[in-house]
Symmetry: D2
Subunit: 346 residues, 4 copies
């Protein structure tokens, strides 16, 4: 961290600010050129409050050279992290393919979809039991009953379950029932919830907030990791921009940027990004070639009658075709997909 | 709500979709021009899931003419709402002036600031006890101890207390200790928290999310109100845009837009919007002339040594000067400020 | 400018990069702390190409401490600039009030509106002769005939004329006919056009681009000024953000930010920002109290039949009422408006 | 187009507005449900000014069902357009690969790079002769001398030339010298320039503006096409969002959206989108699998010493490796790249 002082800052003021900052456990190296003085901060600056330093009248500008995250930082962990989720792994050679309906609607439905997506090539089942809806008058999910149905689908298919947690109230049920806890975009900076899932050892799928920067996203991962749970997987799901021709703008560059900054796995959710089913294929394929470690895709047996987000769902058949294409691209990229043998031979 | 059907939709499909939608408790009126068919939906469409209708293959476009919120909607409540907060009111003739430090740092500090801001013209005390910080390594607030200090300051000055709640865990303590519960920008769509504060009868200050549209913001108010708590006050605090020369972009147009759409009071927080103390005065004054019902201003006795957000704080003296200007503008606007007599006479 | 080098950069590489940069006419001061080396660049860095330096493999980060604009910079010109436009001045005590229709429609119309706005308190007449329209099929303006009509209105009222130039082709006609050349938001980075108006000595009203940062905006002013024309007035007219409830987001903080960075006058256009007439009053009043040097307001004698942008126009009567309010606010701010005596006495 | 009238609009007002709109050459069909009246507009609504209709007091909302562009619209031209550019074609089976330096720096340089990129697999040469630079003090390009050097490189290699036109002043020289005229992002709504290139028959590469919506982008294509030049190729080059970790956000969804709305070819420029060389590969590969018709990539023989944008350039070797990967992905997608035989055999 470099602190640029305003022109004309006197030596007394420099001494004073130096002492204040050094009192926080770092040391200061003082430079100057013809016009200005600079303070280089040496040591662990992660806990230093730059807003507080910025408030001093003699400070012109603060430049952080170091990233403010440690556990999520690739510098201190150069190898890719591979996260064990149930019997599967995300972050290694094989892509993680998470598929399923937006909402769990019935036991019969979730079991049917689970079988179909497994056959088509998914290795994780998703399905919303608790739904974050913009309107209080919209369907809010089957809640605990939905969790039970997901478990029934897992019992039938063996697929690990991924579903969203919206409240600390249900954390014990989630730890007992699911294989990966999803934190949704709207809760990416619900720090209370992040800390609580950080105290468990369940893998956490941390979706990017609609207007979260890469740094804020990694800081939210750091919240979870700083509580002891290092099993964090990031999910790019589109950001909010001026463009209204799509629901959100899929930020495909997030994949290489996060790969550079962090060792954590990152997957791509093209269903929520575009918000329309015709955009899913290109988004999914872009994710694979950009280096993502997996995909999250909404699949519904009957999209027209889905209880939520039907317009962005693929049918199981469409999903199967996408998986065949994904397999070819994964091969070009030196990766693999979890296609079942039935599918890969037809 | 009008549903525009794709060209060439047959009469059987029209009959089918009409029945499906009418099954949700509304009625359908069918029009057509030379090229297309349209379905007008008559009845209460608030609970209708447009995503679900959109997912049908024959639907080209859905146009909502009605707003999806009811309790927050000015149409059904033409008069401005005035919300009682402690002994004060927000939404009437007198502006609500909420001031105080970003963080509560000590009992001595919060009492001193409370006295200073009261003298300068505030009628509410703010101060963070639980702090939402981007980094887990930054100061997270004095928590329950901070709440206790706020109460001590209230005991000394009589000022009602406003402070942020981040977790449902502390809701009982907040109901017992504070006069208005603040929901921060990052939690604007923490629906679990919204529902819980909706079950209390405490006034709620609902800050706008960094990338929340007016409609989403009002839907979050609706979450609180639909649980029975109609004491909601909105707070514009800047939105995230491409511009990085200020922390956020103060959306001053939010004031007249919200006033048109809703009967709820709205205040402006220029401190968080700009993120720099030199931007507070113009933002505060703009808020008053744009029609806001109050202001939320960060004031710290010693900004350079503030534990958080020091660079955006005013000193008590600066705040006093601002209040004098606010008084003159409020008069032009036919409003008043809660200036104490000591100040208004000098 | 400080160049932060990557950790482990050797002394040979440091010598090499130092020589390359010094060859561009600046000198380098070399610092280092325990971890890193830094190069401080001393001298006029305005012409230095940071992208070129950034491309070197040993460079981690470049921090510009100095602004890249000179002539527009308040540091080198601490006093506010006052720009003479016809017989009027913008940037001094009296606010510049520019009003008139979006498009010039007929001589009779523009003369009538000119008389009405003059009576209501404007001291400049606006009216589009060349119109930048999103669609090639929309009305593109009366072009040279429109210029002639504006001159007729000036002859009748004495009001200086402000109108938009879209093509270098018409620059001579504009220099002959108008008092201030407007460069529209879509042309803010039409560098060819900026250079050409920079070669004239006509005052230029430079609107902010829809997604232009403060710095880019001032750099566009610098383009004009660097050609010799220092008569630049900036105009905030709303930026493009995620919010679609208004046409654009009026960035009221632009006023104090520009005032801090530059000596150039800045005015506010609330008509284009909000895109709806009910938003004009609050935007205009906010502009005045935020410190703007003037306003640009669309006024049409018959908004329902306006040939363009009718939904954001005020009627002459509405404009008159706004000017009365503006007068009171200007007084509180220690400024004045150019209200005619007829109006100020009723 | 459907016009939703306000509740309570009387039959006289409906008759009046109907007549006014029908006077513009369309016909009106009148519907009503229990609450409201609607007017369906039948006929060619492309030239209808919705702002003007919106300005009428009885209008609640206007819903355009038809797109406002005709010539660019896939509805009226279902087949993909293939554009002849020199001896090459863009929009067909073979991808168009445009490569070269940001700026032309010398004849020797541009010839060397042209040979290298041709060998590595490009079929078009790019290079800036006229440069749009944010600062008037930055290098502005070699201008006409640069054009001459590009022609020399074409004479040596046979590669068609693509370069940016910033001023109508040089249009004849461009028509004589180049194979495709590029309109840069900052000039996407320089309507004067669009009309002028529309009067030539040169292929035009139309880059998307930094904050241009899909619709605005296609309307700018329509400006060119409506003048008679239908040889328009679109280029997605990143949009401006809140994220500052990359220069711009590559909107990969633009590819399928534009393919759906329009028959025009679209290519992707990952160099300008990310602004850093490490982001080029993933962006380029995403473009191919998303369905783009080509790529535009900055390649410089000596990025560290490039005169502009060096940090985002690939070296010729890096470009060669990228082309090998591109070839494999193109094959999976059923497309081909213009790889020379030397390269494809090693």
């Amino acid at each position: 961290m470099i602190i640029v002082l305003k022109q004309g800052t006197g030596s007394k003021a420099i001494k004073d600010i130096t002492e204040k900052i050094e009192a926080q456990g770092v040391s200061i190296s003082h430079f100057s050129d013809v016009k200005r003085d600079f303070l280089g901060v040496i040591g662990d600056t992660t806990g230093l409050d730059t807003h507080r330093i910025q408030a001093r009248p003699e400070v012109e500008k603060i430049v952080r050279v170091e990233e403010p995250y440690k556990r999520a930082n690739r510098k201190f962990h150069p190898e890719n992290s591979e996260i064990q989720v149930g019997q599967e792994t995300i972050g290694g050679h094989k892509l993680g393919i998470i598929a399923g309906p937006c909402s769990v609607e019935s036991e019969e439905q979730i079991i049917r979809v689970a079988k179909q997506i497994k056959k088509a090539g998914a290795n994780f089942l998703r399905g919303g039991a608790f739904k974050p809806r913009t309107s209080p008058y919209s369907f809010q999910g089957l809640e605990l009953e939905g969790l039970r149905m997901l478990q029934a689908a897992k019992a039938e298919t063996g697929l690990p379950i991924v579903t969203e947690l919206m409240s600390v109230k249900w954390i014990d049920e989630f730890v007992d029932s699911v294989d990966m806890i999803q934190i949704g975009a709207r809760n990416m900076q619900n720090f209370d919830l992040l800390k609580e899932v950080g105290k468990t050892n369940k893998p956490v799928l941390l979706k990017r907030g609609l207007s979260a920067t890469y740094k804020e996203w990694l800081m939210s991962a750091e919240y979870i990791m700083s509580e002891g749970n290092e099993n964090v997987i990031l999910c790019e799901r589109g950001i909010r921009t001026f463009e209204t021709g799509t629901r959100n703008t899929l930020d495909i560059q997030a994949v290489p940027v996060i790969k550079k900054l962090s060792h954590l796995p990152i997957i791509v959710d093209p269903s929520h990004a575009g918000g329309m089913s015709y955009l899913v294929e290109s988004g999914a394929k872009s994710g694979i070639v950009a280096g993502a470690d997996g995909l999250m895709i909404e699949v519904h047996n009957d999209p027209e009658n889905a209880w939520s987000d039907g317009e962005q769902c693929l049918t199981p058949d469409e999903f199967g075709l996408l998986m065949e294409k994904a397999q070819k691209l994964a091969e070009v990229e030196g990766r693999s997909v979890p296609l079942s043998t039935e599918v890969s031979t037809h």
